[in-house]
Structure formats: structure tokens, C-alpha cells
Amino acid sequence: MSQPARIPLRDEFNSRARDALGDAQLRRNFRGAMDSLMEKRAAAFSDADERERLRTLGNHIRARALSRLPDLLEQLESNLTANGIQVHWAETTEQANRIVLDIAERRQARQVIKGKSMVSEEMDMNHVLADHGIECLESDMGEYIIQLDHEKPSHIIMPAIHKNADQVARLFERELGEPYTRDVNELIQTGRRILRQKFFDADIGVSGVNFAVAETGTLVLVENEGNGRMSTTVPKVHIAVTGIEKVVAHLRDVVPLLSLLTRSALGQPITTYINMISRPRQAGERDGPEEVHLVLLDNGRSQAFADGELRQTLNCIRCGACMNHCPVYTRVGGHTYGEVYPGPIGAIITPHLVGLDKVPDHPSASSLCGACGEVCPVRIPIPSLLRRLREENVSRPDPGHAVMRGQGSKYSALESTVWKLWRTLYTRPLLYRLFRFFATRLRALTPSRLGPWTEHRGAPKPAARSLHELARKHLEQSR
């Protein structure tokens, strides 16, 4: 298909999207994977009433926890400390990395094995540690695959979902010298065999956290591969990294959230492993790490927290259902977003982490179809928040009263004027009447090319008479 002339200036998001859309293999991989995930979720929630009640409960648990966030974090710290877990606070990713490096230096660590952690991706931990001569190996199979291929995760739950078995087989052949096979079980066995030894060689295990329980000082970690348990029990030191929003008040809160998380993410009634980490190895115990650390990272989360509406962003329990159901994500994949968190949740959280000006197109990368909000297990009104961020994008902040970092970076005097004219047109009945008159009478002059619209569609032509005119005539006659 020949490409028509285009607007020359295409922003980064759109140009990455364009590349992704042109990759037929990538599109097949995503469509197939997302279709299957949607089916699995639907099957896991076969009772719609139960699902909706559970979602409401999940929302309430998260909202309640966030409404007491500072208190709960203090309670968490004191209970973790009492349990022998060392708590560290980091406002920025640099500080978080510094904390990890200090521990590594004190322990003279050379090798780190990682369970899956999106916060460590935020920190870019692998590269920071590598710069200090510490090898950091991913042990989650998906993360391991993309680390081998020097890529970033394309999905928060299934980081290598953009690759199919053939692509993984060729990667293993190339990077590991393994014989080519498309048998998924064999591929996984290869990975497991290599990783198994690495768990024993590692000085430090790093993991994320799914829920941090304030009342008991417990870190809850769910996983399906056993690598999380290995990473947090075999090395002598375990460092957990997490965002400050992951705290919940009570142990009983974890039960419904776990059910929502595993069913929404992969359609599983429960994950294969649920780890509840409450303390380091005690005297007389035969395994477990000697030291356990928790790094609590802010990285822009308190900015979202400060706004009653945007705070709902922090309800997220990282299930990925919003991306699985997003027609935009399904077509362009995670890498198009160019940031750690892709898809609808990425579009509403990333602006807080990196500044709205760094990702001004993320809130626009949605038709606001509402599929994400409909499936969110904790009822985050993602479409409303996307819309709100669009508003912050084009609103210049009052001096000293910015709602968020990078606010107003998409403000354009021209676009702003266009919308003012639009308002004038639709609030002045006489003006709108004139507009209708000319649009219908001069319909033959409608251009056949209308910017991006006509790249994929024919140009719409106004009707010969507007509804206003037809209705007036009709209603006058029938009176």
C-alpha cells in the first residue's frame, strides 16, 4: 500500500506506534496473547455479581489504605523493624539505587539474582549495578528472555509477551548455544537449568512486593515459577524494593486483593507460590537470608497522592488487565510507550514518575473506550484520569500551584484559540445557524482530503439540509 503524504512532524509516540503497527509478527503475537488473557479472565470471573462485589471491596480496601497512607507506612516500618527487617526510604530512584549499592558494597557482593520487580525497572537497577561491577541476573523466565535480548519489558506481568516461541528459540540458540526447539517446555527447562546454579552463586536476591501488610510487618509476594521464593531465600541477603503505595492495613485485606490480582492478571484462581516474608533467618533455622531489607520508593507517587482524584492511580495492584483489554495496547504493544509501565495504567502513572512533559502523548493514546476501567479490579476510573491528565497537559499552572510536574507542556496558543472559537460557535445559536447554512449549502466544496482522517477514510460530506432545518419544517407542518 502506498503511503499518502503526511504531516511531517510526528511525535515520538506516534512514530513508535507506526513502527509497531507495521510489524505483522508483533501484532499477531499481541493480539493472540491478549485475546487469550481476556478469555481466561472472563472464565475466572464467571459470576458477574461476585466479581462486581469483589471489585468494590478491592476498591474500598485500597482507598482506605491510601487515606491513611502516612500512618500505615509508619506502622509498617515499626512492625518490620520489630521483625528484624531493615527499612529504607527513598524519595528518588537514585536514592533507592544508592541504598542497594551500599548494601552490596558492605556485603562485597558480585552477583545479584532478581525475582520479578517493576520497581527495580523504574530504578534501572540492572544497569546501575552493572556500572558498579555487579552482575544482576533476572530469574523470572520472561525477564530472563528479554535481558538476554537486551530489551525492556513490554507488559508488567508478562515481560516477554511480544515474543513467540520461535523467537525465543532463536534467541536461546544465538545467546546460549542451545539446540533450536520450539517446544515451550524444553525452552523453559533450559532457562531453569541455567538459572538454578545462579541462585546458589548469588550474594543478594532482589524481589518486588505485591502487598506490604502494616499490622503484621509482612511482605507478600506472588509468583508462578518459584524463582521468587528462590531469590528471597537462597542468597544470604534479600532486598525487597517497592512503591510506597503497596501498603495495606490488615492481613485479612490481602485475601480479596489476591483473588482479584490473580484472576484479573492470568485468570488463575491462585498463583503457584504465595510468599509471606516476615523476618530474616532465625537462630536454629536451616534456610532463609541472614538479612532482609525493604526499600520504599516514592518516585513521584506522593504527587499523585496529594490530589484526591489522581490519588486513585495508586489503587493499582499491577495485574495488567487494563493492558490486556486495551485496543490501543493490543495493537502497538508495550515498547511503543517507551517507559516502564505501558498501557492504560502506564499512561496514568508514568506522568507522576517522570513528569507529564516527558510523556505528553501518553494520556492521548486512548480512544477513551472504557475497557480498562471496566476490568480494573480495584475500580480505578482510568478513562476519567486519562481525561484529567489531558486537561493538565493543556492547562498552564498558576505560579506556585502546579498540580503536577510537567503540567501545561502541551499548551498551544493556537489550539487553545481553536477551542475558544469552537465554544463561541456552539454557544451562539445565530452563529451556529450561519455555520450550518454555509456547511450544507456549500457542501460540494468540502475538501476530499482532511488531514489524518482521510489517510484511512473517505471524507465526510455534510448533508444538504441540517437536522435543525428539517426538524423545524417538519414540526411546523405537523402543528
Binding site: 475500580r379 489531558r390 492547562s395 469552537w422
Partner: protein, 273 residues
């Protein structure tokens, strides 16, 4: 960080506004307002006229305030909230009698029914008016089905149609149920499913020009599945989606075309086009 000490409910804006089923009036009203919408006004006026005829056939007098224009949705979803609010204010002023407001487009009905209350959250008087109007706003298919309780008598030859429902109509107004129920009353019409039926057609208001390639890919997929469904006609209750889908079908030189539900229902039941 200073957090409020009390529990703050998060229900200021909900993802699914119509979680509880709506109750409908027992009797048909004598009069209704029709809010035509800006897209119907200029691009699908016959759909608006067919809506009027369908309603009149039910013995209802239709009032069409001539000062109406647009619900404000394009500015609202683009983040120009202040401009959207002024356009919304101008519409609200037109529907002051206690008559139902019927809208032949689910997403515009959703603006009236859910989002005006967000726009005027800071203006108690206007908010009260917005709430009152929201309470009596109906999407056309919903109104025909649940308030008029229409009984449609199909007079057309056997045919197969695919129904496309706009996403906001589906999620904010449950229009897919209403559209299906109305089509199912037509004895000669077989409704055929199309692949990924509940997926967005890629219109999304200004989304289609801000993210043209993604929107183009979405409408390409949507029209492919509509063509593959075997339907001889596409029916939709939302003019925005129709403009997008018909535009793409036209570009593909496909014989298939989309028609507004109001026009389809009117023509199938003996009305003259």
C-alpha cells in the same frame, strides 16, 4: 505528606456510572425534547428525522429546541474543560420543562447523564439542574424500548445485520442491550455477530486525529470483521462511530455501509425514507 485522617470515599467519578439498573416511568410521556447532537445535525440529519418519526408514531410530541448545538464532548475529552462547560451550560438552559430528553447517540447521552454533573460540581445551582436533566435523559433505543415499550412490526425482506455499539454508549448507557432487543423484534432481521464485537472502532473523538495510525489500524480491523460477518448492513446507534466506519468502508470501496439504528428501524417498519 499530610494525609486526611478520615476515610475519603473515591466515588467522585466512577468507572461504571450505571451499576444499578435504571427504573423507567410507567407511562409514556406526552412530550419529549430531542437533542439531535452536532454530528447527526450535519452528517446524519435523516437519522434525527427518523427518530422524530418513530417517536411521533408512538403518539409522542417531539420538541426540538432550535438553539441546541453540541453536548460539549469533543472539548471535554480533549481536556478543554472550561470550553466544554460553557457549551454544556448553553444546552442545559434549553431543557427546562420536566420532559424527557431523548438523544439519538449514546456517547452524547452519556455526557448529559454522567459528565455534566462533573462539569458543574462546583456550581450548586447548575449542578442541581444538571442532575435533574440527567435523571430524565435517555438514549433513543433505550427510550423506545423501556419507556415507549415499542412493538415493532417488520415489513422488510429477510436480511442480516451487524450491530456496532459505541463504547461509551455500551459502558455508560448499556445501549448494546437496547439495540439488540429492538433488532430482535424485527422478524425478518437476523443479527449476526462480528469478531471482537465489543472492541472500539477507533473513532474516539479527537483520538482519531491525534493518533491517526492507531485509529486507522483499529477501524481497519473493525471494518474487516464487519465485512467478514456476512452482514449486508451495519447498524449503529452512534453517529460518531458511523462516520468513522462508513468513512473507512468508503475508502475500501466496500459495498457494505452503516446506517443509524433509527433510520433502519423506521424503514423496516413501513416508514418512508
Amino acid at each position: 505528606m499530610n494525609a486526611p485522617r478520615t476515610f475519603v470515599p473515591q466515588a467522585t467519578r466512577t468507572a461504571e456510572p450505571d451499576a444499578a439498573p435504571r427504573t423507567y416511568p410507567e407511562h409514556k410521556p406526552e412530550r419529549i425534547y430531542l437533542f439531535g447532537t452536532c454530528v447527526v445535525d450535519l452528517f446524519f440529519p435523516e437519522a434525527g428525522m427518523d427518530a422524530i418519526r418513530l417517536l411521533e408514531r408512538e403518539g409522542i410530541q417531539v420538541v426540538f429546541p432550535q438553539a441546541q448545538s453540541c453536548c460539549g464532548q469533543p472539548a471535554y475529552t480533549s481536556g478543554y474543560t472550561d470550553q466544554a462547560r460553557e457549551v454544556a451550560r448553553a444546552q442545559l438552559a434549553l431543557f427546562d420543562q420536566d420532559w424527557p430528553v431523548v438523544v439519538p447517540s449514546g456517547s452524547c447521552a452519556g455526557m448529559f447523564r454522567h459528565h455534566y454533573q462533573e462539569l458543574f460540581a462546583g456550581e450548586p445551582d447548575t449542578l442541581a439542574r444538571a442532575r435533574a436533566v440527567a435523571e430524565r435523559t435517555y438514549e433513543l433505543a433505550e427510550f423506545l424500548l423501556h419507556v415507549c415499550r415499542v412493538e415493532l412490526h417488520d415489513q422488510g425482506p429477510p436480511t442480516e445485520v451487524a450491530l456496532h455499539t459505541s463504547c461509551s454508549a455500551r459502558r455508560e448507557m448499556h445501549t448494546h442491550h437496547h439495540g439488540r432487543a429492538l433488532l430482535d423484534q424485527l422478524s425478518g432481521v437476523r443479527r449476526v455477530d462480528h469478531d471482537h464485537e465489543s472492541e472500539c472502532c477507533g473513532f474516539g473523538g479527537t483520538f482519531c486525529v491525534r493518533m491517526p495510525d492507531i485509529s486507522g489500524a483499529m477501524v481497519a480491523d473493525k471494518t474487516r470483521s464487519l465485512r467478514d460477518s456476512g452482514a449486508t448492513r451495519v447498524v449503529s446507534a452512534d453517529a460518531g462511530c458511523l462516520m468513522n466506519i462508513n468513512g473507512a468502508l468508503k475508502k475500501q470501496r466496500a459495498p457494505l455501509q452503516g446506517q443509524h439504528l433509527a433510520s433502519f428501524l423506521w424503514q423496516r417498519t413501513g416508514g418512508q425514507p
